[in-house]
């Protein structure tokens, strides 16, 4: 069983590989099939792992892939960071979402990208993304997570900039958006790197958990299944001497129930036949109720942290951690680690202050926006923080900051979304806002609701993005239709074509009747996002609010309690924004009269596009059932991999309040934008601009000047300083003036020398040597057949002369 785990990464990687190298020779259908097969294959493996978890009572597994066992390994420095994978309820949740939504989006993309000249390349990148995303969620250590983390960043970079060659500077702007995304993420990655360094030097390992460890003693009775082998990291040969280093690993197997596939068993037998003999005994080993029999070295970072926290609470004395010459309290260390992790999360999960890249990322093709910039990649930050829930649970100050950042992001992005005209930008800000919900949930310690919202959001936001793609596609088709039939002989109309923006909601309207499937599924997605009963979004959003309420009144420390109240109020307001901007979009896109000829002629999309929409809509309706007040199945499931996960409580009053906020938002939007008065085409005005709220709308429309401030404060000064450093400091001063100063006196004194060096050595000496060589060559021609005619030999003699010259004083000295 366990050896199929690496395949979940290998299959998409292989799909990507094939499409990169042979894509240009394949037809569209073939390319697409390869990619879809790869994605489906990964999904099937995720399903198998899911059923396996159910069958084994949620026993997690740690797997050393057969293709790469060791990665960063420096025995003398105590560094041991393997390629090692982890299958537990948390990672399987992510795998299912990634591969499930991913497969649907692959299918959708066949229709969406049809006719693109780099069709196969697109699918290669999509597969590449899947592979990296799966590395991110299956890694059993922080560094593997980081590999996936930056890898998905690369895929995102490539896909945002996929249309880098579009005419009229649009391609360059796409590339700008891609670069912006990568760099903003790099700032976050800087934080994550610092967190990794600190974690390593605190715990001596980057592993989340080590084999044999029990993640959550409250719910787990048995031990993990694993095929981790005591010496499996090592090379197959040549380090028998270091066997001793791994004996701790061997010991930890005492609590490990080993499931070893035949292929692996054979391999193990070949290499370590004697060790293998002990495996059956391990399977029958006694089961420990908790980790108390393990030494610190036998536990991963989180297990060690749990123990240190417990010890600290027991003794009442702060544990000190030594870093070279410095010493810190353990609590401080955890706070710093989590703060740096938070910086990482704000990059990848688009939170304030680094969220600015995500709206621009909409430059990528719509399937990309749906898969990477809504459903999966951007949730990586939330996943990481839930994974590190031990740290965050303990770091009260950080948690408070996390909650605040989440709430502010949810509010700011929700507000900005109200003022956008671009159909995808509205959704982009909506995504930022919803990620704010998840982050806030993590901040108040509601890890299960955070993950629950992550899952439901993945489905309904993917649905909405794909729906918007369908709309854009329809409008573009309508535009071409008009263009082809109405203006056949007007060549100057090209200018008009360029100016037409198929994503601008001002060009839409009245699409409900023309694109019925898209319309119905879009409404479902919208209602789910607005948190309307009984769709998935209602349950997950309500869980977050309920937890916030409980945290607020629970009184687990002032900051914690405060963060609960802030989250409750802030997120309720943000939920109101959500309902409002989504219904505004519905009104502008689907209702009223068509506002352009393109919208007039927009056809419904093909089955490639509509079928994924319907499948997603089905899940959006039903997915809430997995964690309802009548059965916290998702909570129970997650408790096995997140120590501090706990089921929420249903608050009927809160649910009613939240529901009325959602309905209220929709009603308000209906009142303002309904009845064809959403957009005043003559004066180019949004309906809100005719109300007293006009300045607020303007601020939202200008995105709160966030980007402008960044340009003024960071980016332009950076560029200017770079130019100054390069031209003035480095070139004019260091390179020219300072150099001249150094050499001026030297040159004057050595004027005699300088000319011979300048003219002489290069031209003169070479020519002179040449002449000399010719002369010498003439003389030597007879004995050596005239081949010695080289400057090199003279050069060599010169070098030897120099050596001898250098030796003279030493001879004298010695003699």
């Amino acid at each position: 069983m366990s050896q199929i785990v690496p395949l979940i990464i290998l299959i998409p990687a292989l799909g990507s590989f094939i499409n990169i190298f042979w894509g240009s020779r394949l037809e569209e259908k073939q390319s697409a099939l390869i990619a879809i097969f790869a994605s489906t294959g990964a999904f099937i493996i995720a399903l198998l792992l899911y059923f396996n978890l159910l069958a084994t009572n949620y026993q997690e597994a740690i797997i050393n892939p057969f293709f790469f066992d060791s990665w960063l390994r420096i025995p003398s420095g105590g560094v041991e960071i393997p390629w090692q994978m982890r299958v537990d309820t948390l990672s399987v949740t992510m795998m299912l979402v990634i591969t499930g939504v991913g497969t649907l989006i692959h299918v959708y993309a066949v229709g969406y990208m049809h006719g693109d000249e780099r069709f196969s390349r697109f699918f290669a990148y999509l597969n590449l993304f899947l592979a990296f995303m799966l590395v991110l969620v299956t890694g059993n250590n922080l560094l593997m997570l980081f590999v996936g983390w930056e890898g998905v960043g690369l895929a995102s970079y490539l896909l945002i900039g996929f249309w880098f060659d579009k005419a009229k500077g649009e391609g360059y702007r796409n590339a700008n958006a891609a670069r912006k995304a990568f760099i903003a993420n790099r700032v976050g990655d800087f934080g994550l790197l610092m967190a990794i360094f600190l974690t390593f030097w605190t715990f001596g390992t980057l592993d989340f958990f080590k084999p044999g460890e029990i993640v959550n003693p409250d719910v787990q009775t048995g031990a993990a299944w694993s095929d981790h082998h005591g010496d499996a990291y090592g090379e197959d040969d040549g380090h028998g001497a270091e066997e001793g280093d791994h004996t701790e690993g061997e010991a930890s197997l005492g609590a490990t129930f080993v499931l070893t596939s035949n292929a692996y068993a054979e391999e193990v037998e070949d290499d370590h036949g004697d060790d293998h003999a002990t495996d059956p005994a391990i399977a029958a080993a006694p089961v420990f109720p908790d980790n108390s029999h393990l030494t610190m070295e036998q536990m991963g970072a989180f297990g060690q942290a749990e123990r240190m926290i417990a010890e600290q609470e027991e003794s009442g004395e702060a544990i000190m951690v030594q870093f070279g010459p410095f010493e810190f309290r353990f609590g401080v260390v955890i706070t710093i680690i989590t703060l740096f992790m938070l910086l990482g999360a704000t990059g990848k999960s688009a939170q304030i202050p680094l969220f600015v890249w995500l709206p621009d990322a909409m430059a990528g093709p719509t399937p990309v926006s749906a898969l990477i910039h809504a459903a999966t990649m951007v949730t990586a930050g939330v996943y990481m923080m839930v994974r590190a829930n031990t740290f965050f649970h303990f770091a009260e100050v950080t948690s408070f900051i996390v909650a605040i950042i989440g709430v502010i992001t949810a509010l700011v992005a929700g507000f900005i979304a109200i003022g956008q005209w671009d159909i995808k930008r509205v959704l982009a800000y909506s995504t930022v806002s919803q990620l704010g919900f998840m982050v806030a949930a993590v901040g108040i310690g509601a890890y299960v609701p955070a993950m629950f919202h992550l899952v439901t959001h993945a489905f309904f936001k993917a649905l909405l993005f794909l729906g918007s793609g369908s709309v854009i596609h329809g409008v573009e088709h309508g535009h071409h239709h008009v263009h082809d039939h109405g203006h056949d002989d007007h060549h100057d109309d090209h200018g008009h074509e360029e100016a037409f923006d198929a994503q601008d909601m001002r060009n839409m309207g009245g699409l409900a009747g023309k694109m019925p499937i898209t319309f119905v599924t879009y409404i479902i997605g919208t209602l789910a996002l607005a948190g309307i009963f009984p769709l998935a979004g209602f349950w997950s959003k309500d869980e977050i609010l309920a937890d916030a309420w409980l945290v607020g009144i629970g009184g687990g420390g002032f900051l914690h309690s405060l963060s609960g109240y802030i989250a409750l109020v802030g997120l309720l307001i943000a939920a109101g924004f959500t309902a409002f901007y989504m219904w505004r979009q519905i009104e502008l896109v689907f209702f009223g009269e068509p506002r352009s000829e393109a919208a007039e002629h927009a056809p419904e999309s093909t089955a490639w596009i509509t079928i994924p929409l319907m499948v997603l809509a089905f899940f959006v309706i039903t997915l809430g059932a997995m964690n309802t007040p009548w059965g916290h199945r998702f909570a129970t499931w997650l408790e096995y991999s997140a120590r501090h996960a706990h089921a929420g409580q249903f608050q009927i009053l809160l649910a009613i309040i939240a529901l009325s906020v959602g309905i209220g938002g929709i009603y308000l939007a209906r009142v303002i934008y309904g009845d064809k008065k959403g957009y005043d085409a003559e004066r180019d005005l949004d309906a809100l601009q005719k109300t007293p709220a006009a300045p607020a709308w303007h601020a939202a429309n200008q995105r709160l000047w966030w980007d402008d401030v960044y340009f003024a404060v960071f980016i332009n000064p950076f560029i200017a300083a770079g130019k100054f450093l390069a031209d003035v400091v480095d070139w004019r001063f260091l390179h020219d003036d300072f150099h001249n100063l150094l050499t001026a006196g030297f040159q004057r004194a050595g004027g005699m020398l300088a000319t011979p060096v300048d003219r002489g050595v290069i031209d003169g000496s070479v020519l002179g040597l040449g002449r000399f060589a010719q002369w010498a060559g003439d003389r030597m021609r007879r004995p050596q057949n005239g081949f010695v005619r080289s400057y090199g030999v003279w050069l060599l003699s010169g070098a030897i002369l120099v050596v001898i010259f250098l030796l003279i004083p030493l001879f004298q000295n010695g003699g």
Partner: protein, 538 residues
């Protein structure tokens, strides 16, 4: 014997070339290429026969060259884990550099192909000598000889300002070398031998206390050991180059022909960082500990400054040249972390930089051959015109900016991890150095976008010929190494682990402890704590 064979194979090739003439260009090329390949194979044998668990010098060969009553000079060659990797890097880069020169238009234009390839082989010989020779005196000879062919490569086949660049390169390095020469003579005459290893070697004498370089008198800064340390260090720092001694580098890189830049970035600069590990750390451990924070500060300034300046460049080659300063800052930081992780990370990063930056120069060269310009604004949308070239360039660019899974990341991460856990540096240094990781993305992606992305709108870029087989053969080994080191660096860490461990345990940790103790004593006596007071870094 194998070491000597590896060392002198290029010389054999050179001798054969002497018997050819310029008209036989094809034979000259292939002979040179054949000998660089043979050298490479030879070095692989060396690697295969190397016992990684043994920290000592291996495959030693020696005979006495000069013997006097007061000192001796030996031909003493051998490899340990650290030098072996650099030997491999040299022999790996050379065939690629030679192959990349086959159709170089500067050689057609300026002629003298024979001389060109002679210099290439001479250069390889000198560089290999620097890495395998264990006698300070002979080392110095190789160090100086390596200057000569590079001087001519730049000066004859370089760009428009080649003379200025060549002379600047020569003078800067020479100025530093003189200080090193003085230090070498001092050490050698005091020990009575110039040879480092061996029962009577300098290292053994240091270990037994037969000689020592006093460190506390009269002050730490002006003590014999510190001055000797600086004598070596300044020579190396110019070579690396450590900020602010770098102003020769952009000239040399921009003016050098493609192969020259590749070798310069790929190997020649590593002679400096290698020298720091081999001589500074090994011979002067106390001074190393003492100067480490200050040097780390210079390294970090170099990391950030190099990256920042690189971003503002409009000449592709200059951009890559400044990025070298940034990358080598990481190497120096790793070396002066003075722990096993940092030193190994630094050494691996020397190899990585050779591969990635060497690769970048090769790629820039290919573009230059087609367009005869290096101006960023002259390009745009090249990925569309040359898809394979664009894809390969992306991989090399990503490796250079440190994408995990590729080689650059492994080196940088290990260095930063080492400096974080270092007993002499620590978190604050790492914090600032890690900013370089962000900056690397900024300047590298800026370059990539300017050259490869955007609309293909310039007439002269539309019909660029695709890569030919020879160019692909040049670049594919680079790409393979990028992935290999990135995914499975253990192959390389394994080679150097015990050597680095030995260096740290026997020399550095002792010194760190000794300095700690004396600092404690000083503090107890109420004296000024010199370590803190005189370290600029804090």
């Amino acid at each position: 014997m194998l070491v000597t064979l590896t060392l002198f194979l290029p010389m054999v090739g050179l001798t054969i070339l002497l018997f050819m003439n310029d008209e036989q260009e094809d034979q000259i090329k292939w002979t040179t290429f054949g000998f660089t390949i043979a050298t490479f194979l030879c070095s692989l044998l060396l690697w295969a026969g190397f016992d990684a668990t043994n920290p000592a010098l291996q495959m030693v060969q020696q005979w006495t060259w000069i013997e006097f009553s007061s000192f001796e000079v030996n031909y003493y060659v051998g490899v340990d884990g650290l030098s072996l990797l650099l030997v491999l890097l040299t022999t790996f880069i050379m065939p690629l550099a030679v192959l990349s020169s086959f159709d170089a238009h500067v050689i057609h234009e300026r002629g003298r192909p024979k001389l060109y390839y002679i210099f290439m082989l001479l250069l390889e010989w000198a560089m290999l000598g620097v890495f395998v020779v264990q006698d300070l005196f002979v080392y110095y000879v190789f160090w100086e000889v390596s200057l000569v062919p590079m001087y001519f490569l730049i000066g004859i086949w370089g760009g428009d300002e080649r003379r200025y660049a060549a002379i600047k390169f020569f003078l800067y390095t020479m100025a530093g070398s003189l200080l090193m020469l003085i230090a070498i003579l001092f050490v050698g005459l005091q020990a009575g031998t110039f040879t480092l290893p061996g029962p009577d070697g300098i290292l053994a004498q240091l270990q037994s206390g037969a000689i020592n370089f006093p460190f506390n008198e009269p002050t730490r800064f002006f003590s014999t050991q510190s001055l000797l340390f600086l004598g070596f260090f300044i020579a190396f720092a110019i070579k690396v180059p450590v900020w602010p001694l770098h102003s020769w580098l952009p000239d040399a890189h921009v003016q050098a022909p493609t192969a020259g830049s590749v070798i310069l970035a790929g190997v020649l600069l590593k002679m400096g960082t290698y020298g720091m590990v081999r001589f500074n750390l090994q011979l002067f451990p106390e001074a190393s500990v003492y100067f480490a924070p200050a040097i780390a500060v210079l390294a970090i300034i170099g990391i950030i400054y190099g990256a920042w300046v690189s971003y503002a460049q409009t000449d592709v080659k200059k951009l890559v040249a400044y990025s070298s300063i940034s990358h080598l800052g990481f190497v120096v930081l790793g070396v002066f972390a003075l722990n096993s992780v940092g030193i190994q990370g630094g050494t691996l990063q020397m190899v990585n930089h050779g591969i990635s930056t060497g690769g970048l120069f090769l790629l820039v060269g290919m573009l230059y051959e087609r367009r005869h310009t290096r101006d960023l604004d002259a390009f745009g949308g090249i990925w569309k015109a040359m898809p394979v070239y664009g894809g390969i360039s992306l991989v090399v660019v990503l490796s250079s900016l440190g994408l995990p899974g590729l080689n650059g990341f492994v080196g940088e991460f290990t260095i930063l991890l080492g400096s974080y856990g270092s007993l002499v540096l620590g978190a604050v240094y790492t914090f600032f150095a890690t900013i370089g990781v962000i900056l690397a993305a900024i300047y590298m992606l800026h370059m990539f976008q300017k050259v490869f992305l955007g609309e293909l709108d310039k007439e002269e870029n539309m019909n660029l010929p695709p890569l030919n087989w020879r160019e692909i053969a040049v670049i594919v080994p680079i790409v393979v190494m990028i992935f290999w080191i990135g995914l499975r660096p253990w192959t390389f860490f394994r080679t150097m682990d015990s050597t680095a461990e030995n260096l740290v345990e026997e020399r550095l940790e002792v010194a760190i402890e000794a300095l700690d103790d004396s600092a404690d004593v000083a503090a107890a006596d109420g004296e000024v704590d010199l370590v803190v007071a005189e370290t600029e870094g804090e």
